[in-house]
């Protein structure tokens, strides 16, 4: 072979390439496969490549030694600059640009985690070579975002040999675009720049995109899906040219496959796969149950326990990714969000895939508006199909699917439990991306059955960014789901506490007595002290016991506690005590019965459950004794039952109800504090009474 003189740059470049090709790490010999791939990446006609290999002597040797490799590279450079291939040209041509290799993607993946850091170093060069700058930008951004799903540690398993036949075509197309710009670049820059796409190949971003698809191929072969491999690789090329490096994007082929699988379980594409069937299906993938559970949580978007077609595809995609070592995301990626507008016919699904990409990738292109121009181009396609899509694509793209989804959900499953769709949506907002946050807040509106308080605030705050398109649709959806909601999601709890509140004079009393239901001693203690004193009281009323006045007062105070202060007449109403005494200690109050019977006797009819009866009696006593106060409270509390039902109304009603609630709250809080004070007094009295009792009984 002729001696080869290389410049320093060339030397370095060639040695790097050699190292790259020399995967077996035998210094001299490079494997044929890699070299062939590399040469193909140079985008020369295959006969030229053959010629080069022959010239450099590899054909003779049967392998590429280092010198052969270098010669081959130099010849490639020669060929790329358009010069005829001749051995003499190796040394004669001056200022030869370095051979350019447009990297074929998934052939050269795997094992390049080591090269990963290089990508970071050479980041600025990214946009230089064959990619349009926009894509370089995209790559840069998506690299950081995509690093999440692509674990550096677990190298993605790739089938390097599956798609080489198809790769050169796409690459050639790319190459031609960029080659014009490359030639005039100074060699140094070219060196760095050319090297970067090489490295970039092994970067996480693009490769994950391809890997998921290529891994899909593998999973196809290994697991339970038969799939045409070359078909998938075509998909990969199409993906690469689409410009969106979303690793979670589902290709058309994959989607079609998922749809076929869906059909095996559920022939109707608009139908649902029930949870049990889905469980069996995904258990076949042999993932641990915990992960399957997490996948389910992510993919069951509407939390209905069943999977629609989109949800199923998302779940399947996540299973595929997980099987190949990708960590599951914390929340559902954009591109996997169910697109609920396009389920009307399966023919539209391929159309929707690019839309999925568009709607799914605004995270990569920072403002939402920027995909708009590209969306415009696809509109003619979409408008032929579902006319909902024409509505969807304007700015609030995420609003409409959820509303139409809400409509679909409601209309399709009128018999199912409506509380499920509503409630998880209320719980889910922190998990959804911010694009869907508006959607969920809208869901709050329509799906709000019982929780008028908290969600109404979020509803009002999110109202503003909504456009007129959305409001129009909101009005559409507002009626049907609401009607169904209100009908189907009865709020049982609110009426009951109101009822009990209205019965008792205050929350405190209710709680107090509720807290001691089965402690007859406790409630008895509360009530007994009033009972005990009356016995000695009448006997001592004749006696000049000075302390009894206070006893009476205390006793009366304790029974008619809250209203003691305003209602002086009750002060001396011992019949109440005797009523209690009669209920608690019938044996002791024989002489009291004649006095106790009037009016209260009916109340004190032998109660089957003394505890509860006592509660009731005290309630009723308080009700009777507290007409003024209880009226106020009752009116306030009477408004409470109406409040949950006002949920379905518009914002003003909700705000009005909020105001009313707040007023009620302040009133009740005030009452609460007063009652607390009285409770303290009561306890003191009780203690003093007990002391006196001890004094009496001890001697």
């Amino acid at each position: 072979m002729e001696s080869l003189t290389l410049t320093d740059v060339e030397q370095k470049y060639y040695s790097d390439l050699f190292v790259y090709c020399d995967t077996d790490n035998t210094k001299k010999v490079a494997s044929n496969g890699k070299v062939l791939d590399l040469f193909r990446a140079a985008q020369l006609p295959s006969e030229v490549v053959l010629q080069i290999t022959e010239l450099c002597g590899a054909t003779r040797l049967g392998h590429f030694g280092r010198s052969q490799f270098y010669i081959a590279l130099k010849l490639i450079a020669v060929a790329q600059s358009g010069l005829p291939l001749r051995v003499e040209s190796l040394n004669s041509v001056k200022d030869l640009p370095l051979p350019r290799f447009v990297v074929a993607k998934n052939e050269q993946e795997a094992r390049h985690t080591a090269m990963y850091p290089d990508l970071e170093n050479q980041g600025p060069y990214q946009g230089v070579i064959p990619r349009p700058p926009g894509r370089g930008q995209v790559k840069k951004v998506s690299a950081h975002e995509v690093i999440q799903p692509c674990p550096d540690t677990t190298s993605p398993v790739v089938s390097p040999h599956q798609s080489p036949p198809t790769s050169p075509h796409a690459w050639r197309k790319h190459k031609r675009q960029a080659s014009g710009g490359n030639v005039e670049r100074p060699p140094v820059v070219v060196a760095g720049a050319v090297w970067t796409p090489f490295r970039e190949v092994q970067s996480g971003t693009h490769s994950t995109l391809q890997t998921v698809s290529s891994l899909f191929q593998r999973i196809v072969s290994i697991c339970y899906f038969p799939l045409n491999v070359s078909l998938c690789s075509n998909e990969i090329q199409r993906q690469s040219s689409s410009g969106y490096d979303d690793p979670w994007k589902i290709t058309d082929e994959q989607r079609q496959y998922y749809i076929n699988q869906f059909k095996t379980i559920q022939p109707d594409l608009n139908g649902f796969i029930p949870g049990s069937a889905a469980k069996e299906f995904f258990t076949k993938s042999k993932l641990p149950i915990l992960e399957l559970s997490h996948i389910w949580e992510l993919s069951d978007f509407d939390k209905d326990g069943a999977l629609t077609l989109d949800e199923f595809c998302a779940a399947f995609h996540l299973v595929v990714a997980r099987k190949n070592g990708y960590d599951l995301p914390e929340k559902l990626p954009e591109s996997l969000m169910p697109k609920l507008i396009d389920l009307d016919d399966s023919a539209e699904v391929p159309d929707q895939a690019p839309d999925v990409g568009y709607s799914g990738s605004p995270v990569e292109v920072t403002p939402n508006k920027s995909p708009m121009p590209s969306l415009n181009q696809t509109w003619p396609d979409l408008n032929q199909g579902n006319e909902d899509t024409a509505i969807v694509h304007p700015v609030p793209i995420r609003m409409t699917p959820s509303k139409i989804h809400m409509q679909e959900m409601e209309l399709k499953r009128t018999g199912s439990d409506h509380t499920h769709p509503t409630s998880p949506l209320m719980a889910k907002p922190p998990e959804l991306s911010e694009e869907t946050k508006l959607a969920t807040s809208m869901k709050f509106v329509t799906a709000n059955s019982g929780d008028g308080y908290s969600s109404s605030d979020s509803y009002t705050s999110d109202q503003d960014p909504i456009t007129s398109v959305v409001t129009r649709q909101r009005s559409n959806s507002g009626t049907s789901p609401e009607g169904l909601k209100v009908a189907a999601a009865p709020p049982p709890p609110p009426p009951r506490p109101n009822a009990s509140h209205s019965r008792s004079s205050s929350l405190d009393m209710n709680r107090n007595f509720a807290a001691h239901p089965t402690g007859p001693q406790q409630s008895g203690v509360v009530a007994c002290p009033p009972a005990i004193p009356p016995r000695p009281l009448p006997t001592q009323t004749s006696g000049p016991h000075s302390g009894h006045r206070s006893d009476e007062g205390l006793a009366a105070h304790s029974t008619t506690s809250p209203q003691q202060i305003p209602e002086q007449p009750n002060f001396a109403d011992f019949s109440q005590f005797q009523a209690f005494a009669a209920s608690d200690q019938p044996s002791d109050d024989g002489e009291k019965h004649p006095e106790s019977l009037p009016a209260k006797g009916s109340i004190m009819a032998p109660p089957p459950k003394p505890v509860r009866r006592r509660l009731k009696s005290e309630d009723e006593l308080q009700d009777e004794a507290l007409p003024p106060k209880s009226n106020v409270i009752a009116t306030v509390l009477a408004t409470l039952p109406s409040i949950p039902r006002s949920v379905g109304k518009d914002k003003k009603a909700i705000q009005a109800s909020i105001r009313r609630n707040k007023e009620t709250n302040t009133v009740l809080a005030r009452l609460n504090s007063e009652l607390q004070q009285q409770l303290k007094d009561l306890l003191e009295e009780r203690i003093s009474l007990e002391v006196q009792l001890e004094q009496r009984t001890s001697p």
């Binding site: 469980k279 069951d300 914390e330 409630s423 998990e431 308080y453 009951r496 807290a515």
Partner: protein
């Protein structure tokens, strides 16, 4: 805010229990366990017409000097117990109710998951994140 939240199954074993001050966790476990007695009292208190009389939200189960224990039971006898700190502003009834509602909703989400077998401990991340949001932020 709550310092401890527990979900207890029908057979009175915990499906999920989590407290914020990690060092004192055992104390909260004990509190929740003893509160189950009160819950049992309340739900068995009704002698007459069973279903409609019984209140799902049980309210304050019992107060101690440090904290208050609130309870809520579902129709399937799954109990939710919230232990709230008394020292900070006393939580209003409404807030407690809304906390229980959120708990209940997340619990139904977990139940809807076909991969969750009723009776397993709840390991759902969504449920965990919801509970963390309700726990005391300060400690």
């Amino acid at each position: 805010m709550a310092v401890c939240i527990a979900v207890i199954a029908k057979e009175n074993y915990p499906l999920y229990i989590r407290s914020v001050p990690i060092q004192n966790e055992l104390k909260f476990h004990y509190t929740v366990h003893t509160s189950l007695d009160v819950v049992e009292e309340k739900i068995s208190a009704v002698g007459k017409a069973m279903a409609d009389q019984r209140e799902l939200y049980l309210g304050l189960l019992y107060p101690t000097e440090d904290y208050k224990v609130y309870g809520c039971v579902t129709n399937s006898k799954v109990k939710f117990v919230i232990v709230a700190d008394s020292s900070n502003t006393s939580l209003r009834d409404n807030e407690i109710r809304s906390m229980f509602r959120k708990l209940h909703n997340s619990f139904t989400d977990v139940m809807c998951n076909p991969f969750y077998n009723p009776g397993d401990t709840i390991q759902s991340k969504a449920f965990d994140s919801m509970v963390s949001a309700m726990m005391v932020q300060a400690s």
